[in-house]
Amino acid sequence: MALRSAQVTVAAQDGQALRAPDPVASAPLAVRGVTVSYGEKPAVFSVDATFPAGAMTAIIGPNGAGKSTLLKAALGVIPRLSGEVSVFGQPIETARARIAYVPQRASVDWDFPASVIDVVLMGLYRRIGLLGRLTGAQRAKANACLARVGMSDFADRQIGQLSGGQQQRVFLARALAQDADLYLLDEPFAGVDAATERAIIDVLKSLKADGKAVVCVHHDLATVATYFDHVFLINVRKIAEGPVATTFTGANLNATYGGRLAATHIDQLALADPA
């Protein structure tokens, strides 16, 4: 086990995906037959999914369709009723160092006594360990991550004093500090201002350009076609997955949202043309 995780760390530092013959088996994130239930009702039922490297994938579906649940179950943050998860072909426990996670902004208490830079440094905790000393280089790295999201001026601000968009950027900076190969973001664009949305998408696109896998739970159908390469449509069960060009179609959206999307609304979206 120790040997394996050592290899993973090396691969993570090189920024390369491990090569394996089976594309699904070595995908940045693959889930198979995942079911999660709250009480007696499945929130996610028997979902198979593969999220590719060097691409941005949107997980799309109506409220309560299990988007965030799927993400959390894949991370092991909430228990699964059944199913398996692999990260770069490894069980998740050995591949944690290659994953960065951005939880929903509303999931934490922003009244917590911490400054912006404190939060970004949390992204390095795994690497520093419990007692390791924080080096100047690590501090500089945290500052660089903060600069990347345009928040350098706020490093010493208490997190409760930030706007919603600024908080979201701090969370993204923390994920950047993790130096991962797979980025999982839960509703990163929810309730943020336009400037923040642009800043976040720029960062995510540069991650993609570096060959990383980016997976976002996403709400805004209007921006799917411009931001993302792949979509994963879910409503408790998987409805469809694939490149935006072939999968983000009116028929699939109807199957996902039922009658909740008016036909006119669907027409306005920059939908793929079902060839």
Partner: protein
Amino acid sequence: MGSEFVQFSLTPMLIGILASIACALPGNFLILRKQALIGDAISHVVLPGIVVAFLLTGVVSALPMLLGAAGAAVVAVILIEAIKRLGKIEPGAAMGVTFTTLFAAGVLLLEQTDTSSVHLDVEHALMGNLESLIWFQARDGWASLIDPVALAALPPELGRIALVCALVVALTLVFWRWLKISTFDEGFADALGLPTGAIGFGLVITAAIAAVAAFDAVGSIIVIAMFICPPAAARLMTNSLERQIWWSVAFAVLSAVLGYVFAGYGPLWIGAQHAVSAAGMIATVSGLILGLTCLFGPHRSRIGVGKETAT
């Protein structure tokens, strides 16, 4: 302030200070995790713990009682968690059910047992006996501090609470990063692969150890007050967790010193003849400090910008 102080006030004051610090440190995290009342629950179940220990061993001695109390605290924590999950009951009610039941069982056991020959009663459990923890051998004043004979006669409570206080400080330092991150953002800590369940349980167990050791010396009132008041007051003084910890330690020490002095000398100042309960007075002072920070603390109110947009 010579030999009399060393003989009668130095050790109780030191014990009060160490007990206050040992409780205030984990209290910081309990408050931030909205588990402040776990301290309340733990301090109530200490009673059944020591009664059971007494029934099993038949003697009133420190070690079995400490173990019994610690065991009861662990049982209570597990019961609370079980009732919460199994019965789908909100944490406050689960705590209320657990600690009142165990406390009632403790009182009943105590009444059913013949403890007339030994010093074991509910009042002692609640109020402690800080005033009696004197250093009688210290007849030479401050010079006793280097007199091995006198040192050997230090009240054993002092050694125990010093040890536990050191342990709590060490645990806080070692697990600082884990505690901080899992308290702020448990989902992220989970995703990092940290054992968040074990961290939470470890925190509560540490609090229980502090409570039991402090209880041994000063009774359960101080324990609950010190879990909550100094950290709560500290939270209103700063927006940095590191500084909050220092403030809480400072407030804990201040409460212990002022409380002890007021209890011992306060009544004399106003013409009364008898001292009042030191444990009660320490709790009262910590409450006054909290009251002052609620009124004047620089960071007393919520800022709320992020909070509103986040909901």
